[in-house]
Structures are given as C-alpha cells and as structure tokens.
C-alpha cells in the first residue's frame, strides 16, 4: 500500500517552457514543495509529472514562482473509468484465484469424507494427519479468507457487524472446533470427534467464487454510464492560427472554433458558424430522426454529425457540457435510494447482530435438547445459521435495480433525478399536460387562407403589414409568405390596435388585419365571411380578417399544430391507466378542439401560470397522485407541486436541475417511456426484495434445523455457503434483466 501511496501522480500542463534551463528551474522549484517525491518535466509535451501526495495548488504556485505557469491535467472520466475496470478485473481474478485454491483444498477433503466416512479423530495417527490438514486449511483461511477476518475485526471494533463478521465467525468456529478435536479428542464424546476443516475451506472458496461472479455481473449494471462516456470524444479538431489541429478534448476552451466532419462526433457543446448537416441526436435525446443543423443552431457534445461539414464555436466544454451534466446526474441518481427500500435498510442495519444471537440460541437448543452427537450438531447449526443469514442479498436488492433502471432511462432520453421520482412515477393517477409545446408544436403556423381572388396576393399584403408586428401569430403569417417566396413590401403608417389587430399602408393600399371588432370599428361589412370564419374557429383555429381599401378580401387562419406523435402517445398513456387533463392559457374553443382530437379527458383553458399550480394542488387534495408535464421553466411551480414533474423536451440546464424527471425529447412518448420504465424497475425491485426476504426468512430456520424432525438431516455449512454465494448473484442477475427493458413505443 505504501508503494501505491508513493506512486500517486499528478500531471500538470506547463506553459512558457522552451529550453532545458526551464526544465531544471521548474523541477528544482517543485522539489521544494511538501510531499513531493519526484518531479519530472517532459519538454516535448510540456508536462510536469509530480509523484507523491501533494497539494496541486502548491505545485502550481512553485511553478509560477519559477516564472512559468501550470494547470492540472485532469484525467478524463473515461480514463478513470478504464482504470476502475482494470482494478475490477484484477479483483475478479484475485477472487477466482482464492476460490480455486480454497476449493482445491476443500473439494478433495469433502470427497474423501463422503467416500470413506473417515472424518473423525480417534487415534494418534488421525491426530497427526488431521493436524496437518488443519494447518493447510489455516493457510486457506489466512491467504484466501484473511480479508474476512481483518474486516470482521475492524467492524467489531467499530461496534458494527458486517457480512465479513458472519463469514469469519462461521468458518473460524468450524476450524477452531476441528482443531480442538485434533488436539484434545479425549475431552469430547466419541460421536463428536468429527472435523469440519473441509467446511471452512469450501465456504471460503464458494463465497469467493460467488463474489467473483458478482463482481462480473455488477460491472454490467453500470453499462449505461459506460455507453454515455463512450459518446465523449477524446480529441477535437480546433482552428488555431488559421490551422486545424487535433487536440485532446481537455485542451479545448470555450470560444475556440472547431471543425467537425461527416461521420464524426460533436466533441463539445457549441453553436454552428458555417455549414449545414444532419445531426443524429438519438444517443442523447432518444429522438430517432436526425435534426438539420445550420448557422446559429446549437450542437450538443456526443451527438453524431451525419453528412455535412460544420464549423462551430465551442460554448461549453469539459464538465459544463450537457452530456457531462447528464452523466453526472445519472451517476448520482444511480446511487440514490428508493422509498421502498426503507424497510430493507432498517433490517439490514440490525440484521447481523440479531442473526448472531439467533445462531447462539439455536446452538444452545440443539446442545440441550437435541439428539446425539449434540456437540457436533451444535457446531453445524451455529456455522450454518451464521453463513446462510448474510444479508448482502437484501442490501443489494434495491440499489442494483435502481442502478440499471436509471441507466436504462438515460439510454431512452429519460433522465431520472433520484430513486424517489422513479418509484413515484409508477403509480400516478392523473397526468396533467401543458398544451403548448407538449401536445402542440409550440409555434403557430398558417393553416388556411380563404379569399375570393388570388390568395398569394392577399398573403403578400398581409405579411408585408405584419412585418412590423411582434405578435406570435404575425410570425406565422410572415414565415408562410417567406416559404412561398413572396416579395414583401415595407409598411407605412403602421398601427397596432390593442385587442383588435393591425393596420397600415402597403404600396399605397390601406390594409387591415384583425378580428371582428376591428372590422366593426372600421365599418367594414362582414357579409358571408363571418359564417366561414366560425367554421374554422370550431376546428380550433385562430381566425383573422383581412381588408384592403375598405373591403373585406378574405380570412386567414393560424393554429398551433398538434404534434405528429401526440395522438399515439396519449393512447399509450391511457392504456397505462392514466387520466389525461390538459392545461392551457389558450382560449377554450381551440383548447377543446385539440382535446377532442386527442381524446383528452378534461380541459382547463384560459389559465394564468399560477392557476396551473392551483389545479395540480386541487387534484392532489382529492387524493390523486399527479404527474405534471411541462417545458420546465414557466411551468416550474406546477412541476414542483406535482408528485412527479416531467420537464419535457427541454434538456436545458435549468430543467435538468429542477425537474424530477427530464425528458430529452419533445414528445409525450417520453412520459410513457418513463412510466413504463418506472413500473418495470419497481417490479424488479419487488422481485429482488421478495427473493432476499424469502431467502433469509426461510434460510435461517432451515439452517437452525427446523426440518430435522422431518428429514433427519441438518443443512451442511457448505450448502449454506453455496446458498449465500448464490443469493447476491441471483439479485444482481435479476437486476441485470432490466437491461432488456424496451418501451412499447413503435417508431
């Protein structure tokens, strides 16, 4: 361990270093810093490697005092992960080796016992032979199971008891009793002169094998984070002094200009300066269709550039990128607890001492009222209860499922904030959905234009007029004109009349655009247009009248279109047993039209932002569990009030920080995915808890000998050891089944 401490290295990137003289100066300065074992400068790549436990800031100060500058090179998360995996592999091999050695001793001994039935010490020769076997088994206990004993001792000193305590007590008792038989057989009745060396070796071997398999299975539970980490590129093509350089990702700074070619991953978050391309964001958002990106659009690290070359400016690097935040959030959520685990937590905390008491009580019962050989039975019962009762399966039951469930969510663009949110999403009664941007696309579009003459001519006039307006409906009209490549004229005498519409002059013509009130105010006869307008309004459109030089020329209708996938998502959510209610600030006519189209149960229209929170609270007062879906910022109070707040489609920093569950794509399918995932995870947790509880509640009485009157046999400590090894492996493997989870959404 001391060597490992000394081999701790900190790497610094130097600046201003260009000669051998600089190297000596820096090395000499850093050597003076407390804790530095060795300091070496590499002139070629301008790095400084410091060995020893040091304060990096002190080293940086020392370099600065020598007239240069230095920065700590952070090993990337991926490198750290790889180191960890290598450690895991080493640990796995070590456990396998220990297991092989222990079983190599234990299995032949057990076979010998089964074939010959000569496991007793009755003569001096027996004493010598079994004494040697005892010493060999002691070597197994020390070299293969020494960590159980040191762990048990440490825990004991801390007034706590762990799995190590049970294993050490179980195997230690078996070995000590056997050694007692070897050394002083005459003190024991003949029937109790049985040795159990094979049991201690086999238990150590089997438990080590179980742990080895568990290490391997556990590695898979964090596969989701591995996948996310793999999205991070290791280098980036940066434009420096007019040249394109491939630099390690750690050296990219905000403001750098970067080039990304077709087929390459976007290395950091940024904004496109030049070029256009399709970018596959599915790995981050779960959105299957690639998104077109051009100048001004934002790019996220980890997404894949498909077909064009893009020049972009880095805006967020390192741990500030959205991908890095997601990884951090997933890792944090993976380690959180679910409320359902509370009982298991409480039991685990007091379980080991209780089991120790049960083991002693059972042993005393066997000694006092059991059949002969009582001493041998007492030992078998004591050892078996201690070994089989290990609560590790109970302790693993929930964290393993949460780990896989949260990771699986991230793969599907569902970022769960913690285990509590994951659990609560599984039994929601009502889903309250914000209309704009969730059920609809959030940006109004021109849907209908109805006129007696040339519709393009009317649109050109109206769009020219609306150029001066900042109203969202105006934007829809202007962009529709742009799409049709109509030439717009600048308006003069432009006037916006509040709650009525706009008026102005275009190429000498007086143009009006607005509602019925505007037409009445300007004394323009409506004719049959009012009936035609009503029909469109019933379909949920916002209708405006257009008049030119005092004559009504036509009507124009704008609507926020319903998202393509909203209908399918609502159907899925209803199948999951949720009642859907819609919240919107829009007028009730268009809200009702959308609700009717999507088969939504209830509509709350014409709401102010604060009304949304009130409605959620009212529903909760009725005893219902409410999920709220919104865009994460203006719906924040309602999202916070709901039992589970789903921030949809945002994926912004604010949403990631504040929502219970953040959905990386702008689709209600994400909510359905989250609910399905939550239910699958909770089902998995319940299976694990059931298995672990059953295992312990059945295992202890069986080990204590409750079946003896029926079967005439006691549970062998070896079987108890195997069962214990299998129990945690079963829990971890069952949790890994969650990796097969697939949402029911069909693309």
């Amino acid at each position: 361990m001391a060597n490992e401490q000394q081999s701790v290295q900190t790497v610094f990137r130097l600046s201003g270093v260009n000669c051998a003289g600089c190297v000596n100066k820096i090395e000499a300065a850093v050597q003076q810093v407390k804790g530095v074992g060795d300091a070496r400068v590499n002139l070629a790549d301008k790095t400084l490697v410091v060995c020893g436990e040091v304060d990096p800031q002190a080293c940086i100060e020392a370099v600065r005092s020598a007239g240069y500058d230095a920065q700590v090179v952070q090993s990337s998360e991926r490198e750290r992960r790889e180191e960890q995996r290598a450690e895991e592999r080493r640990h796995y091999e070590q456990l396998l080796w220990r297991s092989a050695f222990a079983l190599g001793v234990g299995v032949p001994l057990m076979i010998w016992g089964l074939i010959t039935n000569k496991m007793s010490v009755n003569t001096f020769v027996d004493q010598i032979i079994w004494g040697v076997m005892g010493l060999i088994t002691l070597a197994v206990l020390i070299f293969c199971g020494g960590h159980f004993f040191s762990g048990a001792w440490k825990a004991l000193r801390h007034h706590s008891a762990t799995m190590d305590t049970l294993v050490a007590l179980g195997t230690g008792t078996a070995w000590l009793f056997s050694m007692l038989v070897v050394l002083v057989p005459h003190l024991l009745p003949e029937s109790a002169r049985h040795v159990y060396f094979e049991a201690s070796a086999m238990i150590i071997g089997l438990i080590s094998l179980g742990q080895a398999l568990e290490v391997r299975a556990r590695g898979r539970t964090s596969a989701a984070v591995e996948k996310l980490l793999e999205l991070q590129d290791v280098s980036a093509r940066v434009l420096r002094d007019g040249k394109e350089l491939d630099l390690p990702i750690e050296q990219v700074q905000a403001g750098d200009q970067l080039r990304v070619r077709p087929g390459e991953k976007i290395p950091v978050d940024g904004q496109v300066l030049e070029g256009s391309s399709l970018v596959d964001e599915s790995m981050l958002t779960g959105e299957p269709v690639p998104v077109k990106k051009g100048a001004g659009d934002s790019l996220a690290a980890g997404t894949l550039n498909k077909n064009g070359s893009l020049l972009f400016r880095a805006e967020k690097v390192g741990s500030d990128t959205r991908l890095a935040q997601i990884i951090e959030m997933v890792k944090n959520a993976q380690g959180s607890r679910v409320p359902i685990a509370r009982l298991a937590d409480k039991i685990s905390a007091i379980f080991v001492p209780i089991v120790m008491v049960i083991a002693v009580v059972a042993a005393l019962i066997w000694f006092n009222v059991g059949p002969e050989p009582r001493a041998a039975h007492m030992l078998v019962v004591l050892t078996s209860v201690l070994i089989i009762a290990c609560p590790c399966a109970l302790g693993l039951a929930t964290p393993m499922s949460v780990m896989v469930g949260v990771g699986k969510g991230a793969e599907h663009g569902v970022l769960v904030r913690n285990g509590k949110a994951l659990q609560q999403s599984c039994n929601l009664d009502v889903l309250v959905v914000d209309k704009t941007g969730t059920l609809t696309e959030g940006s109004p579009r021109l849907t209908d234009i109805d006129c007696d003459g040339d519709s393009n001519e009317l649109l050109q006039l109206l769009a020219s007029l609306e150029q001066g307006s900042e109203h969202p409906l105006a934007e829809a009209i202007v962009s529709s004109a742009h799409e049709k490549k109509l030439q717009l004229q600048p308006p003069s005498d432009f006037e916006a009349i509040t709650a009525h519409g706009v008026k102005g002059t275009i190429s000498g013509k007086e143009v009006l655009l607005g509602n019925t009130k505007l037409m009445q105010r300007e004394n323009i006869p409506m004719g049959s247009w009012a009936v035609r307008a009503d029909k469109l309004a019933e379909a949920g459109r916002t209708v405006m009248f257009g008049a030119v030089d005092g004559e009504l020329k036509g009507i124009i209708a704008v609507a926020d279109p319903i998202r393509d996938d909203a209908q399918a998502a609502i159907t899925r959510l209803r199948k999951l047993g949720l009642r859907i209610e819609m919240l919107t600030g829009d007028n009730s006519r268009s809200a009702e039209a959308v609700a009717k189209h999507l088969n939504i149960d209830k509509v709350h229209a014409e709401l102010l932002p604060e009304d949304k929170e009130r409605i959620v609270a009212e529903l909760q007062q009725g005893g219902e569990r409410i999920g709220m879906v919104g865009d994460g910022i203006n719906d924040a109070p309602a999202l916070a009030r709901a039992d589970v707040g789903f921030a949809i489609g945002a994926g912004t920093d604010v949403a990631i920080e504040s929502a219970d569950i953040t959905l990386m794509r702008s689709s209600l399918h994400g909510v359905a995915n989250a609910v399905e995932l939550s239910r699958a995870t909770l089902r998995n947790i319940k299976q694990n808890l059931f298995g672990a509880f059953i295992y312990n509640t059945l295992g202890i009485p069986i080990a204590a000998g409750i079946l003896y009157p029926v079967t005439g046999m006691l549970l062998s400590p070896i079987v108890a050891g195997a069962a214990m090894a299998l129990s945690s492996l079963t829990v971890v493997s069952n949790a890994n089944r969650l990796r097969l989870f697939k949402p029911t959404e069909v693309h």
Partner: protein, 122 residues
Amino acid sequence: MDVVLVNIVGVLLIIAIIWWFWLGPKHSAVKVVSAVDKLQILVKDGVYEPDHIRLPAGRAATLHFHREDPNPCSEWVLFPDLEVSAELALHKDTPVNLPAAKPGEYPFTCQMQMYRGTLVLE
C-alpha cells in the same frame, strides 16, 4: 458440568453481542474530525475510518473518501438524507460535496449498508 458450562458460555455470548452492538458505549472507537482538517475518510476492510464526523451545520462541506477496499460494496457512498451519492475510485481520493444542511445526524453507508458512518452537523 459440560452442559452448565456450554450454557453459561452461550448466555454470556448473547449478552456480549447485545451489549457490544446496541447497549454499550460506542465512542471508544469513534474519531471526531474538526472542520479545519482535511476531511479524509479511509474506506477499508468493511469500515469507514473515521466513521463519525462532526461538522458545523448550515455550511457546505467536502469529504474526501480514500477507497482502499476492492470489494464492490464499497464502490458507492450514500448520504440518503442529503440526497448525495458518489462513486468512489479505488486507491484514490474522491471528493464528495455535501450541501449546507440543518443540524442533525446524517448516516452514510455503502450500497449494501455494510459500511456505516454518521455525519453529525451541529
């Protein structure tokens, strides 16, 4: 005689277990770290050392966990009441940032609840 002896030993063992794990004084094995020290916690052999940490309440703090135990149980440390968890690197310091919190006792454990410690904010 044997029977009496074994029973006495058994009963004494039960009393010892109950006293040691639940009733007995526990501060003997407890270290207290003040806020001015670098709060390093060694994760080794199934325990956190020190396993009791005293810090002033209402202030954010950073604990440095140094994990020497390859056992996968020790891979995560959880502060459930503070909603903080961290994956601990092996043979390295992992800083764990804790938010400012009210005075009280906040247990921290590994995923399997085998490694246990208490953070006391006062």
